[in-house]
Symmetry: C6
């Protein structure tokens, strides 16, 4: 009845546009060059699936720290593919499902995709899909195996499929021999440079155009441990000027701290403090 | 039928005022400055949810030793939000439920909350909700995963949600990668200073206004290992004057010891003895 | 149908007098001063529940070695409370129940108690209730969690509850974080002094008033490793005169050995031999 | 339906004489003095249950190496009690039962026993009843717990019960805290002296009265590693003359080897060889 | 319905001749003296069961490396007993059965055997019956326990039973305390001498009577690591001339390699190469 | 109903040609001599099954690194056997099946094969069939045991069966004692020489006949760590010229990288870069 319920909401064959747009609620800000690199890479994979007859199945893994924007980026790539079948598989839609029901759902999405000549499936938060917890460790081997098999299963003749999966725990996938199921990988780093934060501040207009307030904030931010020289995603961006590992913050958390700061009398100070004690 | 029973008692949409008031049976005594800090922080989070469009979901974790007042504080914050949907999720209401029923209940509360424009959910005693026991260790991975997913699931467009969770075992949440699911944290320390105990003694009027008895009691208390100089929650309050870790007592246990002492011929002595041998 | 069967035997609301009396089959002998101390402590807890409005729930744990008399003492305290609702929860009544049925039974007893203004529940042999076995270790986490939650659940407004639990394995409760669920503890030691054994011998009249036989027996007992100087329960009673750990025997096993000896031609000798090789 | 089937075969209330006799197929041979000691001990326990009002429940454990005669001895004691209710609980009657059915069966036997004023239950091969296997280790905690509780459960007023349990793995019972559930223990050693074997040889008349053949056999046996000086069960019988651990053989296996030898041309030689290579 | 299906194929009471013959597809070749020793030993056990009244149950374990001929030998012994009830219990007939169904099947076979005055049961591949795997390790404790109990259960009065079990993993049986359930053991070694291979070559007529080809093959075989001096099964046959462990090959694999070689242009060379790289 | 569904799609008795052809989508390219060796070996096994009466069951294991072509090769061998019953057992057709259903499916395929005089079964990706994951480790012991038994089960009289299994984790099969169930093994190595890549490049015509571009590419490839001297599969092919382990790439991944490179402006460079960073 769960699957039935799903069916009622959206046709098996078609694009779950709304669902995908919801996970990109705050849009994609191009706060650093690597964002463009990732999006271009995604476009190339879309092209490969569309054109090559020898590789009807392409699977890619987007990995990076919590809140770095993986889901938003994968959803954006999927939507821009313009494929007739685009679908998001997310643990959020499976809360409370039994293991067999989860597997059945996964299986159904893949089987549905085989009915369309060109399809794209976003498999979000693989580590939650398999119910991973480091204590034990425990996880659903059933879901893991289903995923592993489906990621390697060629679509039937004449059908082509792009799978974009996301995870914040790539190490776990390696330990489980699941990482080798992907043909390609894309790293989505967290923000570690003042320049990126600055870009975001302007885009959300925290200071309502007050340039002095903005500059003061940037000044404060240069002391919280973020890199001030290079761009995010660049070679060596994991270290700050002194060679120590740079502080990082995911775009998701950064946006939340900014909104919290907005309520304060001194947003610049509040934001710097929040990043300081992260 | 369990969920049905729940429905009969209280409408899915609405405030479970009574339930919340019951967990604050002895009120909130402002025995130390940090109590006000915590309450102010809570009010700020309520404000963030009410006003910002970029952060429709805010999740905070109240953590501290057993009996330090976490549940009473979270319930108080929730009630003062005045949100149209306020709900307490507590292991006490789920005794005997199977794992799937617990997950279904959790899921239902969150789904119900999405129907209200502004909602607040108190998730009490996370370590008991997930049935944690350090031997093994064992726990319900199903409940844990459901919680982890629900804490990260954005409400639908136009809906906003504040989640206040409590735990006396923050270390366990870290080990389970669950702590990273919270956007904010609030520490609720136990009482470690004589000054706080004194405040409580006056508020519950243990000596019926007999000031000499009160002073004698305070005198006795200064030898049981509590701090006598600084306030609770202050920087450095974890150590006593000699630099040793200060003795601590949760407000919950303190109130019980006072009631026990009240029955004694010499309440001051009885209370000091109880705190001494804690 | 199990719970139904229980209902038929005894009304949910009321005192299970008979069941409680059965576990005190051989009465309470005041063979050492600490027995009175324990009983007085119990009476005080009864008073606290009866009178204080701030502590409607008091939970106490009686712990001590196997056969030291924990169950008999807890049952005696419960019966003397004269509360309208007094109930024994024992693994003996739950043999063969499934885990959910055990939890349902526990839950029902607590819920029944909330209907009475004053209630007392004896939870016997916690280590067996949770099906603890040191190999593995294994236990029923479901029962453990239910117990843990119920021991912390405040009765509804106007209701008051005293819970007396017993265990011969306090270390296990600590390992499981269950011990911290109790507001108070009472230690029930085994017999380690000749004086206590002597008291019991007279009370059960092993020698039918033959004082010389009695004296000879006491003489023999002074060589089996029991303490001959101090009383049980006194400070330092765990060691004998030479500083070695004193031999101990639970009152339950002592009564059995005496009955065995009674059948012998030379009861004094038989009893001494039995205690010697323990 | 299993329990129903059991009922049809034998009335719940009564003596399962036939079943008991079957396990003593080869009778009890008094091949060494300790056999009499064990039987006398058993008789004393029967007497204690019959006469003392203070110990309505007596539980004893017969333990010893595989095939040493534990089951035959326990069954013999039970049959000679002449109690109106005598029952054998054996894993052999429970092959293929689920864990709950096993527990239900155990529980039923004990409950049936409570209906008789005097009862005796033989619980055979406890290590198999609990499905113990040293790898893992694994076992049925459900059966273990049921047994542990039933062994401590006093029969109702006016009813008395003797429980005789057997095991070839006493160490396991200790590891499981189950051994402490017994009030008494009886050790059943294997045969380690030539004298005992000689006794058995005569009783089964291996040489059809041919005394010379018998003497030659005894001569041969004195070189296979059995003790030639002291009796079995005596102090120090575990070591042979040279102080090395003596060879031992259970009465069960000895009887089988004798029957095997009987088919041989030279029974004396065959038997000695069999014992040699054990 | 599975058991029902079994019933249809063969009557519960009777000999499953065909099934037994199938496992001896290639007959028993007397390629070395120990084969006769094993068969004579089996005949003796058959005799013991037929004649002795004191040992109505005899259980023997045939153990040896994979493919050494255990199943064929046990089946041959069983068929030559001429007992009215002869039955093969094999994992091959239980693929896909649930654990309870497997236990029920085992139990049924033993119970059926009790209806015949003389019975013989072959329990094949015990390690597979109990689903043993060294990783974990894991196995079916239910089947193990059932087997352990059934192997010790005396048939009812007047019934006699011979059980012949096989295993290629005797160490596992020891670790599981199952080996002690057998009254006797027979070792079935693999082939380690050229003489035995030679015997087999003649019997299957690999060279169609071409003696020179045969001699050349024997010549080649003397360099692949097999023993060239002593017979298999003899004292010291585990070592080759130089004292190193001799190469061994099971009769089953040897027969397969011979058939493979038969297809080759140069069978002698092919066979030697196959044995070389084993 | 799953099995029923299977039946509808393809008759139980017959060749699943289409399914087999699909897994050889890109054909078999003879890029190195060992490919021919493997195929010849397969043909020989087919012959053995067809002709010998002594070995009606032959089982072979194709093992090698991920993507080395195992499945395509096994399917090719099976199809060229021209046996009336040829069947592919693959985890891809069993996604979402319960363990009993998987076992039932396996069992059915083998039982179906017994109805044909000559049969060939391809058991693909054994490590996925048994749901192996190195964490824990976990796997389905039920499927493993079924496979182990079926691999050793002789077909009924007059029936012959060839089983070709594939795995990318031979070590796991060894740890599970499953490898010894195979009569033969075939190693399928990955590509490690420039010569093989060159062969593939020509066959897929990456440069549309532009020989200079091809030569430039070969030139570039000689610096990415592949061997430039010997052929794949040759003795010593695991090491490169300097004695270090050579870089390897599976034919499956190589074909995908080539298709990706085809989209690039400079395919030669792109391909070299891809192989460089592997
Ligand atoms: N350049 C960007 N890349 C990704 N997300 C961006 C970017 N700019 C803004 N965002 C916004 O930041 C948020 C990123 O959150 P998202 O859920 O995608 O992160 P995540 O890495 O998937 O987090 P988690 O680890 O919790 O799954 C979204 O609200 C998105 O609209
Ligand atoms: N300042 C205060 N903060 C919190 N609770 C207070 C305060 N003053 C008085 N109280 C009373 O103290 C008690 C605190 O108990 P509460 O159950 O909230 O503690 P807790 O930390 O949730 O305990 P646990 O760790 O067992 O869950 C309540 O009865 C509350 O009314
Ligand atoms: N002073 C005493 N305290 C407790 N029990 C006593 C005392 N005097 C006599 N008894 C008798 O001793 C027996 C004590 O047994 P009880 O079952 O209470 O012990 P226990 O500690 O609960 O044992 P277990 O550890 O097996 O649960 C009862 O029969 C009781 O009547
Ligand atoms: N003195 C004796 N004591 C016990 N059994 C004896 C004695 N003399 C002869 N027997 C016979 O020896 C056999 C003992 O076997 P029994 O099954 O009782 O041994 P066990 O120790 O229970 O074996 P297991 O360890 O396998 O359970 C019985 O057949 C019994 O008739
Ligand atoms: N002397 C012999 N002993 C046993 N088997 C022989 C002998 N000579 C020929 N054979 C043949 O060798 C084969 C032995 O295979 P069998 O299945 O009995 O071995 P196994 O040890 O049971 O193998 P596994 O370890 O796989 O169970 C049979 O086909 C049998 O006919
Ligand atoms: N010589 C060859 N051997 C095998 N496959 C080849 C060969 N030449 C080309 N191919 C193609 O390469 C691909 C090999 O993929 P295949 O799935 O068989 O690899 P695999 O080793 O089974 O992979 P996996 O480890 O993922 O199961 C197929 O598309 C096949 O058509
Ligand atoms: Mg995400
Ligand atoms: Mg709380
Ligand atoms: Mg007790
Ligand atoms: Mg026995
Ligand atoms: Mg075999
Ligand atoms: Mg493959």
């Amino acid at each position: 009845d769960f699957l039935q319920a799903l069916d009622e909401v959206q046709p098996a064959f078609g694009v779950s546009e709304e669902e995908l747009q919801q996970v990109v609620q705050n849009g994609i800000m191009r706060f650093a060059p690597h964002i463009d690199v990732i999006l271009r890479d995604g476009a190339l994979r879309v092209e490969q699936v569309r054109t090559s007859t020898r590789t009807p199945l392409v699977t890619a893994l987007l990995h990076g720290p919590p809140g770095s924007g993986k889901t938003a980026l994968a959803a954006t790539m999927a939507m821009s593919s313009q494929f007739p079948f685009v679908k998001l598989v997310s643990p959020e839609n499976m809360v409370g499902l039994s293991e067999p029901a989860k597997i059945a759902h996964l299986n159904k999405v893949f089987n549905d995709s085989y009915k369309s000549p060109l399809s794209c499936i976003v498999v979000d938060s693989v580590e939650k899909l398999v119910e991973w917890v480091p204590i034990g460790p425990r996880f659903s081997n059933g879901v893991l195996q289903a995923l592993s098999v489906l990621l390697g299963k060629r679509p039937p003749k004449g059908r082509r499929l792009l799978v974009l999966a996301t995870t914040s725990n790539r190490a776990m996938l390696q330990d489980m021999d699941l990482q080798q199921a992907f043909l390609a990988e894309m790293r989505v780093p967290a923000i570690s440079s003042v320049r990126s934060v600055e870009h975001v501040l302007r885009e959300v207009d925290l200071f309502n155009g007050d340039e002095r307030a903005h500059q003061r904030c940037v000044q404060l931010l240069s002391h919280v441990g973020l890199r001030s020289s290079r761009d995010d995603g660049e070679e060596g961006a994991a270290l700050d000027e002194s060679g120590a590992p740079a502080k990082t913050v995911g775009i998701k958390k950064l946006l939340s701290e900014i909104e919290m700061a907005r309520l304060d009398d001194d947003p610049a100070d509040k934001l710097a403090a929040a990043l300081q004690f992260m």
